[in-house]
Each structure stands twice: as structure tokens, then as C-alpha cells.
């Protein structure tokens, strides 16, 4: 992940930082603001920048968002428990664009 990629993500999550585990790069997004319907939820989030747990990429959340997403599952990544709905086919690319695409499931 380039410094420019990270800086772009930091425009929506000031504390964003790169991490990795098992050869997969992640962006940790503390207190990410997630537009949900007309409102907003805040969760810690972890975006995988490559295929992970059988999906082309993943956006893990610290807690599920009720009424949004389908087939939520629980995973342990980087020593922490995460929740994610079934939302697939977001291909690896620029982190900010991947994140924006992942967030569509919560609108």
C-alpha cells in the first residue's frame, strides 16, 4: 500500500494505518463513520486489500450493523474478533475506492 493510498483513506478516517497478517495487507480504520440510511454508525473496521476468507476482499467491522447486510459471519484477524456480512466481488485496487464500494451494503 502506497503512502498516497493511505493518505486518501485518512481523509475519511484520520487514524487509518496499514497492517498485515499472513501476507495479506489490511487497513485498520478506527472509528470509521459509516453512512447507514439517513444516519451514521461508527465502528472500528479492517479492510483487506487482497482476497481473504474466501472473498475477493473484506471489510470487517467491530460489531454488526443491525438491519443491514446479509449472512453476517465472525472472524478473528490480527488477534481481534470481527464481523462482516456476505458482500463479495470487490476486487483489490485503490484502498479508498474499495472502501467506498464496500460501504454500499450499509446504505
Amino acid at each position: 500500500m502506497t503512502a498516497e493510498d493511505l493518505a486518501e483513506v485518512q481523509a475519511v478516517c484520520a487514524g487509518a494505518r496499514a497492517m498485515s497478517e499472513g501476507g495479506v495487507e489490511f487497513v485498520f480504520l478506527p472509528a470509521l463513520k459509516i453512512p447507514v440510511g439517513a444516519g451514521e454508525e461508527v465502528r472500528d473496521a479492517l479492510l483487506s486489500l487482497a482476497a481473504h476468507t474466501g472473498y475477493t476482499s473484506r471489510l470487517y467491522l467491530s460489531a454488526p450493523i443491525p438491519t443491514k447486510g446479509q449472512n453476517w459471519t465472525v472472524h478473528t484477524v490480527l488477534g481481534r474478533t470481527w464481523h462482516t456480512p456476505s458482500f463479495n466481488n470487490i476486487l483489490p485496487g485503490r484502498a479508498a475506492a474499495m472502501l467506498a464500494d464496500h460501504l454500499r451494503v450499509y446504505r
Partner: protein
């Protein structure tokens, strides 16, 4: 009593005085014309300055924004989102989000967006789907 050219000195003095008066009158007339020309030139300058100011007000105000990290200059105004995407080189099949107060705000192609200085946009595919 006569002067060197044989004329009456008083007559000569009167002639010199008339010549001097003529020269003075001519000088005053020239000065008057010059002052008039300066006044006209000043009016033209004022008019030109007014025209420049008016032209400035009609010039589109270009502002710097970023779209997918690339800086672009566009006119600061309200756009139809689909037209704005075309203007900034975002493919029609991609979704455009505006970053507002640290949050992605998705823009509806049929809606409008008010573009201002330093606005940031991120385009992305609409590839994700629930399964």
C-alpha cells in the same frame, strides 16, 4: 531718436509686446487643448478599468478539487452529477462519492452536487454484491 534699424523704439517695443502676447495666447490655447486631451485620456482609462472589472465578474471562478487523488480545476458551481462525472473524467458506470466531513457521501447521477474549492471525490466500481 531712432534705434539701430532706424525705427521708432516705442513702435518696436509695441510690436514686440504684440508678438509676445500672440505667443502667450497660442501657448495658452495649446495648454488648453493638452488639458482637454489629458482629461479625455483619463476618462478612457477609467472606462477601460471599469470594463476590466466587469469582465472579471463574468469570468468563471475555477477552483482546485481532487478526483481519485488527481487535482483538477473546475468552475465552482452546482452541477448535475452525471455531467460533473463527464467533466472530471469519471466513467458513467462508476459511482462517485464526495468526502464530506470525513464521510463518503454517494452522489446520485440524477442529482446535483455543489462544487467548491478543495472538495475531494472518490470514484469506484459498483461491483460488490450480497450473496
Amino acid at each position: 531718436m531712432t534705434d539701430d534699424d532706424g525705427g521708432n523704439p516705442l513702435d518696436k517695443a509695441e510690436r514686440d509686446l504684440r508678438d509676445a502676447e500672440q505667443k502667450l495666447n497660442k501657448g495658452l490655447a495649446d495648454l488648453g487643448r493638452a488639458e482637454s486631451e489629458i482629461a479625455e485620456a483619463n476618462l478612457e482609462i477609467e472606462k477601460a478599468e471599469e470594463e476590466v472589472e466587469e469582465a472579471k465578474h463574468h469570468e468563471p471562478k475555477l477552483v482546485e478539487i481532487t478526483v481519485d487523488r488527481i487535482e483538477k480545476k473546475v468552475e465552482a458551481r452546482t452541477y448535475n452529477v452525471a455531467a460533473f462525472k463527464t467533466l472530471v473524467g469519471v466513467a458513467a458506470d462508476r459511482e462517485l462519492d464526495q468526502i464530506v466531513n470525513g464521510t463518503f457521501v454517494p452522489l446520485d447521477d440524477a442529482g446535483t452536487v455543489k462544487v467548491e474549492k478543495h472538495d475531494a471525490f472518490v470514484s469506484h466500481a459498483r461491483t460488490g454484491g450480497s450473496s
